[in-house]
């Protein structure tokens, strides 16, 4: 019986991963609603759980590919592999339009570019402080500090190690969770109470779930303004970090 079940799982790896990730999503959104009252978004909890099962998988097998190293879970490697990931990321551009960015105005666009640059540089400085010296690792960790998507997209484009990619996802995740959690407490000190500052806020932080969650807890009326700029942030990051920023980094670090 067990053998039959195992062989069904092995022969349907990708289908099994849909079921498995579905369960993780369900549990995450449940925890988000019950435990954090929606304060921490379900998607962030799901990614934390994803990293956690990768940790368990790594402990079990001693391999480098987390849960995907365990035979029956190899399908996770297809679902979360570079091909479907890039495909799904490109699809998120559906719904964005350049007419929208005009509404953000000069302040919004400046904050968008500055947000990506400042986040990247900050991540690189911290990575340097932790002893990374090669352009590929530094760029990938800097990219993760932009968002947890720009990190792995950049890392796999320029050939970073899985360890560095995991670090970059974790950095982006911390950014997202901290943004969700602390925005309502800090809002009044940074003048985050009007549409213009919400636009700037979305452009500077850029993590869509973090910005939407943080603003919703501050004042729901501000959410669309923050989302307007944040929508473009990850796309901008995917465009300029693995290209322009990596080339600049290569010039400075061998």
């Amino acid at each position: 019986m067990i053998d039959t079940l195992v062989s069904v799982f092995k022969n349907n790896g990708l289908v099994l991963s849909f079921a498995l990730i579905g369960v993780i999503m369900y549990v995450s959104y449940f925890l988000s609603a019950k435990l954090t009252r929606g304060r921490i978004h379900g998607s962030a909890i799901a990614i934390i759980l994803g990293l956690f099962v990768a940790y368990l998988g790594g402990l079990n097998t001693g391999g480098e590919k987390g849960l995907a190293d365990i035979g029956i879970f190899a399908g996770i490697g297809i679902m979360g592999g570079g091909m479907l990931r890039d495909f799904a990321i490109v699809s998120t551009a559906f719904g964005a339009s350049f007419d929208e960015i005009k509404k953000a105005g000069v302040g919004g666009v400046i904050s968008l570019f500055l947000g990506v640059i400042v986040s990247f540089v900050f991540g690189v400085v911290i990575a340097l402080a932790f002893g990374y010296t090669d352009a590929v690792s530094l760029t990938t960790i800097g990219a993760g500090t932009v968002t947890y998507i720009v990190g792995p997209v950049t890392g796999s484009a320029i050939g970073a190690s899985s360890e560095v990619m995991a670090l970059s996802i974790a950095a982006g995740l911390v950014k997202s969770v901290f943004t969700m959690t602390f925005t309502p407490f800090i809002a009044k000190y940074i003048g985050l109470n009007n549409p213009q500052s919400a636009l700037v806020f979305g452009g500077l932080l850029g993590t869509t779930s973090g910005v939407a969650g943080g603003l919703a807890a501050t004042d729901p009326k501000l959410v669309p303004y923050g989302a307007l700029t944040a929508t473009f942030y990850t796309g901008l990051g995917c465009l300029i970090v693995p290209s322009l920023f990596f080339i600049v980094m290569k010039a400075f670090f061998a």
Binding site: L51, I76, V153, E163, V177, P242, F246
Partner: protein, 135 residues
Amino acid sequence: MVIYGVALLAICTLVGAFVGDLLGIVLGVESNVGGVGVGMLLLVLIVDALKKRGKLELKSQEGLNFWSSMYIPIVVAMSAQQNVVAAVKGGPLALIAGAGVVAVSFLLVPILSKIGQKQRSTEQVTPEYREEPVR
């Protein structure tokens, strides 16, 4: 048909990957230079053009919508196959980088808000709210 939307997405992704690889060769960096970003840019431009001509039917949009709503689950699957055991050793790095960048960005909000305020007083705009895939 749903497949039209999916095919459009596929073509944008492939062209982006191709352009990214070519750029990598031209620049001599042996990597894909911004391919995903190029793909996104293409998709925005093409969808925009098609919509303005009324050529993107609802069914085709469903194909695009499906994949953009699979985005977070795919990112979760991606997280589940990283070398987290090795990364945990560098754990404080992720924490400091992630927390620090939020603090720095918060500090910049009031400074940059002023830039926009001068310009905004001349034109007041309100974006409509729409349901976004969270990312």
